[in-house]
């Protein structure tokens, strides 16, 4: 693959200092045309800093960047674009209220003779590009109305449209389903074959092994090494990332399930889901798998009381539990750790302590007056117990890494003494090290007699952790499998609605 | 309510299609009874008076004057009154004026908010032979019968002249001392005229006097109070303050009351309100310049009628102002100015 000697981009000794912190200390990296180059490392290792410097969002402190052999530095995103750099971020960078075509042509809208925007032209051009990469989206569709996956495809289309020579993917699959991921990989291969260089950032080892050619591993702002993928193993890469040896990450100690604590009978809610029935037993890790939008999140929100269901009944600890308000679910001992923790789980601008004490306010207050010492003490104890990495409990949560943020959310529900924990995509955007710690927390929780419902779109994770899995397809439950029935193919088939020989 | 709206529509519709027609009432009559536009006879003159804002006592006083003119005429003059709710409703006033013209009154007295936007309607009325007497605000047209207004610069100058007299009476030598101006509104032509009139006159009378930077207070009494307080603190040789409307006067008087400087600093303001009147009696405010809206309304209506009776009128007439101080405040004429209609 490295037939051409000239790399598209070559970084030498890249250093970036933030006030008081050295984010990068001498990173070397080369991406060749037609190469898919993985950039991996735990959160905080410096991956996004590298990307942001390449894309002209940050300026470097020291080091050299060669673009096709020439010493250059992008001082703005626009300049980076002119170098032929394009980026697809996980939170897609598109104008939400404009159409697909308008996003493609943003800043360079062609005009008709009358001076109006030539919509025909931009729609046609956009359609052509989208078709060339097999993305079936109407160029006139407003971005906001598209699914996350579609938006991402559009973003990729835009980089192709801009004739990017280097495309950076930052966790592109975090919010995608399996099918969509496969589609994305097809597109990446297409790009690769056309001689585009790709820098691929992901936490998912399986992906890296299926599409990448080489991998560079960062740790604490320094390059640990660059290895060809066909000469390494997952464990080896993970060891490089975390700096220690890692065995099977999903190996946790399970508990023998106890009595049934949650019983769901034929619940339905609009178009989101219908006729869902299952039971969850004490000490169990109950997995829910399905594509994004298959109704998993909506089901747990209804159980918790965040949404109101239309029909069916829920029984918790033998008592009727048809909740209509979150406060009811909370009182009954349910903890909901939402899928999008930044949007729904955390008050990002507030401190670690404020977030941890947000639910169990009665423990830190009397007659509505808060005992700050007590709340700080509680927050500190959780920081120790769950190894939350933060300079202090006064730190704003937004400055924490994804894994530590997730631990803050877990703390807040532990403090409330919840006994049924519903985790919705608990490890999205969380690095390997923190994932392991979150799994350890699962282990501790069930050991303490608590029960877990875990929603995940990441099959290896559900299969590795759950005792049983409920599989969903378009609002219907297509099966409940127990551990000895777990087979990747079978689960995927159920999740895509294919009626197999069950 | 519905009826009123209907009649507005009717009047407007007639303006477009039929032209004049007897019996239609002018829109939203504020007080006076009687139909606006009955056929013009020599024994009855229907005069429509349109003010800038119905929410202000100043303009209500003008209406009182207009009505007084009607009452004294033994039925010869009938007055219809109207106006928008607030002085910001320029569009509404134009509509009111247009509807009034459509109702074919014999004469119109207009206190126009804008000096331009009512011009077309006024010119139309003039062309139709309806005399228009403008009061207070001068329009950018010649198509008016008479303009009656306070000359704010001259009125403010009378305050300056009296201030000098008061200093003399108190034995204060103003040479080289300081005076300050507190203004409600930096953007209003009227307020600017008052401040300039005062400043020019005081400098003419006492060339060595120092006029401090004007303090602008957004027509807010508290801000005027704070400004006056700070001026007094900063300037030991401050001997006079001029406020360019009644709210500024209220603030200045309050500052004098609290700092007990009422006898050392001569203070004047423009326009009257109860707070100022109290302050004059308590010595916290030396005097106020009072306009005569009652007189403007009264004379405006009479001017329109005079024109109809074929008399010649001077084009621009200055409405008198009165300087009210502790000395003359009890006089009948002054009391009538301060409490019109009582």
């Amino acid at each position: 693959m490295q037939t051409q000697k000239q790399p598209i981009v070559a970084i030498k000794g890249l250093v970036k200092d933030f006030p008081g912190v050295r984010a990068l200390s001498g990173v070397d990296l080369e991406v060749y045309p037609g190469e898919v180059h993985a950039l991996i490392g735990e959160n905080g290792a410096g991956k996004s800093t590298v990307i942001k410097i390449l894309m002209g969002i940050y300026s470097k402190t020291a080091g050299e960047i060669y673009v096709e052999g020439e010493l250059k530095e992008a001082r703005s995103p626009v300049q980076a674009q002119s170098f032929g750099f394009g980026a697809v971020y996980q939170d897609v960078n598109l104008a939400q209220h404009l159409s697909v075509a308008e996003n493609f042509f943003m800043g360079q809208l062609p005009k008709t003779k009358l001076g109006t925007v030539d919509f025909k032209k931009i729609n046609r051009a956009t359609q052509e590009i989208l078709e060339s990469i097999h993305v079936h989206v109407d160029p006139k569709a407003i971005i906001r109305t598209l699914s996350v996956a579609q938006q991402e495809m559009v973003a990729i289309g835009k980089t192709i449209f801009q004739k990017a020579k280097l495309v950076i993917f930052d966790e592109p699959t975090a919010l995608l389903t399996n099918d969509e991921t496969q589609q994305l990989f097809q597109m990446i291969k297409q790009l690769k074959n056309s001689g585009v260089g790709i820098l691929y950032v992901s936490h998912r080892m399986e992906e890296i092994f299926s599409i990448c050619d080489r991998a560079s591993v960062l740790k604490d702002g320094a390059l640990v090494g660059t290895v060809p993928i066909d000469q390494t193993t997952q464990d080896q890469l993970i060891s490089m990332m975390v700096g220690r040896n890692v065995e099977n990450m999903y190996q946790i100690q399970h508990q023998a399930p106890g009595e049934t604590i949650l019983k769901v009978d034929n619940i339905s809610r609009g178009k989101a889901f219908s006729d869902i029935s299952f039971e969850v037993r004490k000490g169990e890790i109950f997995g829910m798998f399905g594509l994004v939008g298959s109704g998993r999140t909506e089901i747990v929100r209804s159980i918790f009381g965040a949404d109101v269901k239309d029909g069916g009944t829920v029984t918790l600890h033998g008592k009727q539990a048809d909740y209509v308000k979150p406060t009811q679910g909370i009182k009954a001992g349910i903890a909901l750790l939402p899928e999008n923790r930044r949007a729904q789980g955390l008050a990002l601008g507030l401190s670690v302590s404020d977030n941890i004490n947000m639910v169990a306010q009665n423990k830190i207050s009397r007659f509505g007056v808060v005992n700050n010492q007590e709340s700080v003490k509680i927050a500190k104890s959780f920081c120790d117990k769950l190894r939350i990495k933060t300079p202090s409990v006064y730190q704003r949560v937004k400055n924490l890494s994804g894994g530590n943020q997730q631990k803050v959310v877990i703390s807040k529900w532990l403090e409330q003494d919840s006994d049924l924990f519903i985790f919705d995509e608990p490890t999205v955007g969380v690095d390997v090290g923190a994932k392991l710690e979150i799994y350890k927390i699962f282990e501790t929780l069930i050991k303490e007699g608590k029960t877990i419902i875990m929603i995940s779109s990441y099959l290896p994770e559900v299969m590795g952790l759950a005792d049983r899995i409920l599989i969903m397809y378009e609002g219907q439950q297509t099966g409940i499998l127990s551990r000895d029935e777990f087979q990747e193919e079978r689960i995927l088939r159920l999740a895509s609605g294919i009626k197999g020989k069950e | 309510m519905k009826k009123k709206v209907l009649s507005v529509f009717l009047a407007a519709a007639m303006a477009v299609s039929l032209g004049a027609c007897g019996g239609t009432t002018t829109p939203a009559p504020a007080s006076s009874g009687g139909s606006g536009a009955s056929s013009a006879g020599k024994d009855t003159y229907n005069v429509t008076v349109i003010i800038k804002a119905t929410d202000s006592s100043y303009w209500q006083t003008l209406l009182l004057g207009a009505k007084a003119a009607a009452e004294e005429s033994n039925g010869k003059i009938k007055v219809t009154t109207d106006g928008p709710a607030s002085e910001t409703d320029i569009d509404k006033q134009v509509t009111i004026l247009e509807n009034a013209i459509a109702a074919k009154p014999d004469g119109i007295v207009l206190a126009s908010i804008s000096s331009t936007s009512t011009v077309p309607a006024v010119e139309q009325a003039n062309a139709a032979g309806i005399p228009v007497v403008t009061v207070d605000n001068k329009l950018e047209t010649d198509a008016y019968t008479q303009h009656i207004a306070t000359d704010h610069a001259i009125a403010a100058a009378t305050a300056a002249a009296d201030m000098v007299d008061q200093w003399k009476a108190k034995g204060i030598d103003p040479a080289g001392k300081k005076v300050a101006l507190i203004s409600a509104d930096s953007g209003s032509a009227v307020n600017q005229a008052r401040c300039k009139g005062f400043t020019d006159e005081i400098k003419r009378l006492v060339p060595s006097i120092v006029v401090l930077e004007t303090q602008y207070c957004d027509n807010d009494i508290q801000k005027a109070l704070d400004a006056a307080d700070n001026l007094v603190l900063a300037n030991q040789d401050l001997i006079g303050i001029f406020g360019d409307n009644n709210h500024m006067g209220d603030g200045i008087a309050k500052a004098m009351e609290q700092s007990k400087k009422g006898d050392k600093i001569v203070t004047y303001a423009f326009d009257s309100d109860d707070t100022e009147i109290d302050a004059i009696q308590n010595g916290n405010l030396t005097g106020i310049v009072v306009q005569d809206p009652f007189g403007m309304g009264y004379n405006g209506v009479l001017a329109a009628v005079s024109k109809l009776e074929g008399k010649d009128l001077e084009k621009d007439k200055v409405s008198e102002t009165t300087l009210v101080t502790k000395k003359n405040i009890q006089e009948d004429a002054v009391q009538k100015l301060l409490y019109p209609g009582k």
Binding site: F18, P19, G20, V21, A306, P326, T327, I330, L336, P338, A343, Q344, G345, L346, A347, L348, G349, L350, D354, N355, M358, V359, Q361, S365, G368, V369, V370, K389, P391, S392, Y394, N399, K412 | D55, S56, S186, L212, E213, Q215, Y216, N219, D220, I221, Q222, L225, D226, D229, N230, L231, L233, A234, H247, D250, K254, E257, Q258, D273, D274, T275, D278
Partner: protein
Amino acid sequence: MTAENKSLKQRQYNSFLARYQTELLLVGILAVLFLFFGNTSPVFFQLETLMKLLKQASIYGIIAIGMVFVITSSGIDISVGSVVGLSGVIVAMAMVNGVPIPIAILLAIASSALVGLFNGILVYDANVPPFIATLGSLTIVRNFILLITGAKTISDLPKVFTNFAADSMLGIPYLFLSWAVFVCIGLFIAKKTTFGRNMYAYGSNKEAARLSGIRVRSVVYGVYIFCSSVCGVAGILLASRLGNGVPNAGTGYELDAIAAAVVGGASLDGGEGSVIGAVLGAMIMATLRQGGTLLGINSFIMEIIIGSLIVIAVVLDKVRKKRN
């Protein structure tokens, strides 16, 4: 994290600095202003001038405390000026009609709180954007005042009432003492009560707050009612200060209050806001205004300086937050 080798004291000190950076910055600005005016105006450091300054800042400062609550909850209340006017007129009308002073005061605060409740219902239940909801209230309340007073000032208030704003205790104006009381109340609610904490949580992330079991309706109602009630008190104090119930009193005060809150570090996106910051913001603005008059600086230039200060303070704050 880089502080691992620093001493505990040093770390605590750093954490204190980080948490109160905005406030410390404002204290710095205020100190610079004091030094500047003190050196250029011979009377600035006189006791009387300082007491006048405190008096002049008090009523704005009280309103700013209410405003900072609403802004922290990611709302905005531009009806505060009208509520100030309403409360002043109601307390005056009640007293003139022979209602005992304490009851008149309660009546005024209660009617102000009612406006707050109305705002809360519009914002929470009717889901009207706060700016629009309170813009409606601003107009409704101001015209209600004009209606009930006939646009006339209400005078002849009891001496006991009007003396309050003029008098002082041990040389400290009652107005300032009232402000101090509200600063304490505001601080207590913001820092020490579950309501205050919920306000920050709600302002920072509405959905997370709801899913955490916070009663969001009471948070929204609470901040608007608190803000309006505090403005009610400000209106009563203003009536006392002016010696009258003035129908147009308080017009435009919303802008000063928002400016004070924002200069004080409140974010219009919600989740951030500091009572002390707002107090310092109000103090800085009052100091500039007084200093401007003392030095005889042109009014227009002074307002340009104040406007620039608002922008600079906000930009500095943004830069600082970005760096963290």
